[in-house]
């Protein structure tokens, strides 16, 4: 009897605790989140501010909307645990920088994008998958699905699925290949990332 009551109290407390997050944790909330972040990003992409400032403003939006650390950890997979403190820190720095430069090196192409949120469906524990159609002038529309997680209490993007291909899964398989071919050293991956980053910086400077 006592056990029963305790269970009931615990259950009630749980419900009360969960209630506020449960309300915000809806497909509608996720869709609204993607809509607002997408609009903010589009404003930056279409603006005429100087390149460096544009990149900084975009980086701010990304840092706030994407679970950069969580994605980075997922992508490194089992090698995260074997990496040293210094390697982890360097990896996180390179991961974020690559994410940002990959976009800023293509500012020219990303101008004038149009996007519409078309659908939003719960994906169990993982969160909510928000479907958008992105159109570039003169090209066929591309379907991009955003996996939004509420695990941290606020909405954060944890994956991008382009026409059925998950970016974080593709990247994880790629990074693990680089580590494997580098003799199992995380350092080999860091070298490759540094090289890629400097190539992206060159590309960013070259575009008009």
């Amino acid at each position: 009897m006592r056990l029963h009551r305790r269970g009931l109290v615990a259950g009630l407390a749980g419900v009360l605790l969960l209630a506020p997050t449960a309300r915000a944790n809806t497909p509608e909330a996720a869709a609204a989140f993607i809509e607002s972040r997408g609009t903010a990003l589009k404003e930056v992409l279409d603006s005429d501010t100087p390149l460096a400032e544009k990149r900084e403003r975009m980086a701010e939006i990304l840092r706030e909307a994407v679970d950069v650390r969580g994605v980075a950890q997922f992508v490194l997979g089992r090698h995260w645990r074997t990496a040293s403190e210094a390697e982890r820190a360097e990896y996180l720095r390179l991961f974020e920088a690559t994410l940002i430069r990959n976009l800023s090196a293509r500012f020219g192409e990303l101008r004038g994008l149009r996007f519409t949120v078309s659908r939003s469906q719960p994906r169990g524990e993982e969160g909510v998958l928000v479907t958008t159609m992105v159109e570039q002038p003169g090209q066929a529309p591309v379907q991009l699905d955003w996996l939004v997680s509420f695990a941290s209490g606020r909405p954060l993007i944890v994956d991008l699925v382009a026409e059925g291909t998950s970016l974080r899964i593709t990247q994880r398989s790629e990074y693990s290949a680089v580590i494997q071919r580098g003799g199992g050293r995380v350092g080999a991956l860091l070298d490759a990332m540094r090289q890629q980053l400097s190539a992206l910086e060159q590309r960013e400077l070259a575009q008009k």
């Binding site: 997979g77 379907q143 026409e163 059925g164 291909t165 790629e174």
Partner: protein, 254 residues
């Protein structure tokens, strides 16, 4: 003479054995899990074929696709693409039937009849306007449905044809045999049409992949591994029919 006849198979066998990646020991379960997820025991061999394919793509297929885009105006390309897509529909219908999806097979049959007649030999995609959206199936997908798994066995890179796996490679000749256009008609003209179709199909497919391919190559640290992962994910999605219908082709710029 017998010696030289022996050399090729022995060399081939040696290459295959040397090309095998070793399975990580039981003591490292995570490395084992990664090994099985990668599903690529012939990786060194695959990478060698991949390098040759890349050279062919660089020298032949990508330039051909670019020339196609530059010299053939968009409406003509759209019409050609629609004809090619329409030719794939009978084979799709047969596979839908084999997968036990009779209603989808019926839709494909209707699609083929409408586009071949009202759509003038498939040039105009009238069926899509009427709400019958394009779907494509091949025998590799049918085998996966029969086997009840999306795992197609070891990843393989085929010469010229590119990413595949054991299941899809096995399905390939059957897929060709299932295509009615392999059997209908005879004579030099029909043979020329068949070759023309294959070549145009290759160029059309590559043309649609120009931007996506360039972006993937530019972004990846290991293009081989990236493409392997993309192939595996895409096939899984196609088998489960989770994707949206094939992207429509339009005659005008939008």
């Amino acid at each position: 003479m017998p010696r030289s006849r022996l050399v090729a198979p022995v060399l081939g066998l040696a290459l295959v054995v040397a090309g095998c990646a070793t399975v990580p020991p039981e003591s490292d379960p995570e490395a084992r899990a990664e090994y099985f997820e990668r599903n690529d025991p012939l990786e060194p061999l695959n990478r060698a074929v991949f390098a040759v394919n890349e050279a062919f793509d660089h020298l032949l297929f990508r330039p051909a696709a670019e020339a196609y885009r530059i010299f053939v105006p968009r409406p003509v390309r759209t019409g050609i693409g629609n004809v090619l897509d329409n030719l794939l529909v009978p084979k799709t219908a047969a596979n839908q039937l084999l997968q036990g999806r009779a209603d989808e097979a019926a839709a494909s049959a209707a699609r083929f009849i409408i586009n071949s007649t009202l759509g003038v030999l498939g040039i105009f995609d009238v069926a899509s306007e009427m709400g019958i959206e394009p779907r494509f199936e091949d025998f590799g997908q049918t085998l996966a449905v029969w086997a009840g798994t999306t795992n197609g066995g070891p990843y393989l890179v085929l010469p010229i044809l590119g990413p595949s796996n054991l299941r899809d490679t096995f399905a390939l000749p059957i897929d060709v045999a299932m295509d009615p256009w392999t059997w209908i008609g005879q004579g030099d003209q029909v043979r020329a049409l068949r070759t023309g179709r294959t070549v145009t199909q290759a160029i059309d497919t590559r043309e649609q992949f120009i931007e996506a391919g360039d972006a993937l190559r530019a972004q990846s640290l290991d293009f081989y591994a990236a493409l392997r992962s993309v192939y595996q994910q895409r096939r899984e999605r196609d088998i489960r029919n989770e994707g949206r219908p094939q992207v429509r082709r339009f005659f005008d710029e939008r």
